[in-house]
């Protein structure tokens, strides 16, 4: 039954249906199967609506809006000019800066989708202009956004901590190591890519040029100050930080730079709404589909079938990694955590695994899964924002996913990558 539904969905997807169709049909077939008819489709509608209502999702349209205003105006260009004045002469400098920007942005955002939009929007034209292929650029953006999920704050870790009863501050500490490791590996890959494809470097900027770039970027540098200062200074939550960025972007581009007219602001708001709708209907349809999965208790059935109880710690960790990775290919990461964490909890306890390590692995897996076909949510965010065809968006991802998966394996065999920061601060 499950296999038939998944198979149908993938066929519909390949036939070029709007992506909400396979998700809705998959859920409908599930509802008819579970309840023996169409009588309970009201609950399907309820789940679609519930899927788009979590308060944390508000950050997504707000960051899209801020990023669109910044790009339409001058802020984004001036910030990137600044980075390029310092890194432009290094091979792969702009790509490395993109990964770095995702990491920085991750320190203020808990969501990979917001990162795709806020960092990818302004940087993608620059990467293309610098000579990177679109395939590489898109893959870099959607995969580097995973780092945002590992660098605190992270919505995934908060949910994992609450569901499994694990210390959230320890989880936050444990995410930093793997996050920086991924940044390092992506930077190395970017360097190799730039060398192999002979991406031209810019001539090194002179110090007067660098100072000029800094002066021009002073106002836009207010964005990181507002976000980081505002969140860690206790003024607003990550979601509210997104709205504060919108306000600052409006003030900057409309009053200080006089670059954006009220008419353009209206147009920007409209296009933000359009992108939001296109992504959120899929989030909602995905929620309805995951309802079917969890109502039918499919994960429990599958796990019972593979005999997880007899596996050693490595077997359990690999099984967990694979389960979360596959789950997030189809379903929203938060829902996957809610459904799967309690199912694995007894095994984790019986095997004596460190729940903080498991939480870090889970968070990494859901971040990777969210950038993985067919239904990873970062992919459809990228399609909506960048308006590139599906295939174009996913074509360059294999090397990045390979790097991410090797970090997952490394994390299983060398847990200290995640745990050393926590162990240092606990023994303090």
């Amino acid at each position: 039954m499950t296999a038939a539904i998944l198979g149908t969905m993938i066929v519909l997807l390949l036939l070029g249906f709007p992506m909400m169709v396979p998700l809705i049909i998959g859920s409908m077939v599930g509802f008819v199967g579970l309840f023996g008819g169409l009588g309970q489709l009201e609950t399907l509608v309820q789940q679609v609506i519930a899927g788009i209502q979590p308060a944390s999702l508000i950050a997504v349209p707000m960051f899209i809006f801020a990023a669109e205003i910044m790009t339409r105006g001058q802020s984004a260009a001036r910030l990137i000019d600044l980075v390029m004045a310092f890194l432009g002469h290094i091979k792969g400098g702009l790509a490395i800066s993109t990964a770095g920007a995702c990491t920085m942005f991750g320190a203020v955002s808990g969501s990979t989708q917001a990162t795709v939009v806020a960092v990818g929007g302004p940087l993608r034209p620059r990467l293309l202009k610098a000579g990177y292929s679109d395939k590489f650029t898109l893959a870099l953006i959607i995969n580097a956004s995973d780092i945002a999920f590992l660098i605190p704050p992270s919505i995934g870790m908060i949910i994992y901590g609450v569901v499994s009863g694990t210390s959230i501050s320890e989880l936050f500490l444990a995410g930093i190591g793997p996050g920086l490791l991924i940044l390092l590996l992506f930077s190395i890959y970017s360097y190799i890519y730039a060398v192999r494809h002979n991406v031209p470097t810019e001539p090194a900027a002179t110090w007067p040029e660098r100072f000029r770039a800094m002066r021009r970027a002073i106002w836009p540098l207010g964005f990181p100050v507002i976000i980081i200062g505002g969140i860690y200074g206790g003024i607003f939550s990550p979601t509210e930080a997104a709205a504060a960025c919108v306000l600052y972007a409006i003030v900057l581009e409309m009053i200080v730079f006089r670059e954006v007219s009220p008419r353009q602001l209206y147009a920007t708001a409209k296009s933000t709404g359009l992108i939001t709708a296109v992504v959120f209907i899929l989030v909602g349809a995905g929620a309805a589909f995951s309802y079917v999965i969890s109502f039918a208790q499919i994960p429990q059935a599958i796990l019972g079938g593979i005999g997880i109880d007899g596996m050693g710690p490595y077997g359990v960790l690999f099984t967990i990694s694979i389960a979360f990775f596959i789950g997030c290919m189809f379903v929203d990461p938060i829902v996957v955590i809610l459904i799967l964490v309690p199912i694995f909890a007894p095994v984790v306890q019986a095997t004596g695994l460190d729940p903080v390590l498991v939480g870090t692995i889970v968070t990494l897996q859901v971040a990777i899964g969210s950038a993985t076909p067919p239904f990873g949510c970062d992919i459809f965010t990228a399609i909506a924002v960048f308006r590139r065809p599906y295939w174009e968006v996913i074509r360059g991802t294999p090397p990045f996913i390979a790097i991410l998966l090797s970090v997952s394996v490394a994390l299983i065999y060398f847990p200290q990558i995640a745990l050393f920061l926590r162990d240092i601060s606990i023994s303090r």
Partner: protein, 226 residues
Amino acid sequence: MTNDPDPSRDATAIPGPSPVDAAVLAAAEAVQAQDDIDDGLYESGLPGPLGLLDKGIARLEAFALAFGVLAMAFNTTSNVVGRFVFGQSLYFSEEINQALIVLITFAGISYAARHGRHIRMSAITDALPFRERKAMMVITSGVTAVLLLALSWYALTYVMTQAGRGRVLPALRIPQWWILVWVPAGLFLTGLQYALTALKNLTDPEIWLSTATRDGYDLPHKDKAP
């Protein structure tokens, strides 16, 4: 992808390492800056007075999208200002955002359908010959229309059920169904747009992604019927 006919995407001015990248780059910048939809140019798929009504609805959807996003930004920042400056939270702020996100999403899916913006995986259909590609467009639009129209019916009964139960929003204390009415309306209008798209593909020689958009914004060489 080298002969993009759209002048706004003229690639000649950009010094890039290859013409292919230059075209994509121009499109990327266009997406970022100049790709606004002009509602004044929008053509409805319906004839006569129905077409006028449809154009009016399209305008309303566009307004709902812009209003929803601006109101969300205003509401969220007001809450911060209230809490931080005046020590007073807007305790209904979260519910307003929930109402707005429903409005944006369901006004937006119809607007997106009008302009062919829904996400789809076109890799395989793009590779098909013209006739087959057109046939697929009729089938996918038609099936999508039937599905969404059916779903809009269940959404309507859901909203009526909620109205009957009398559930209110805890902070605003208004009936919850007030913020849900966009759901059946949005699904119905989206379904209608897909039905009109199927019709347009049956009656017009070219291939249409929506009543107002030809297929293949990223595939210029396929823009014209052979």
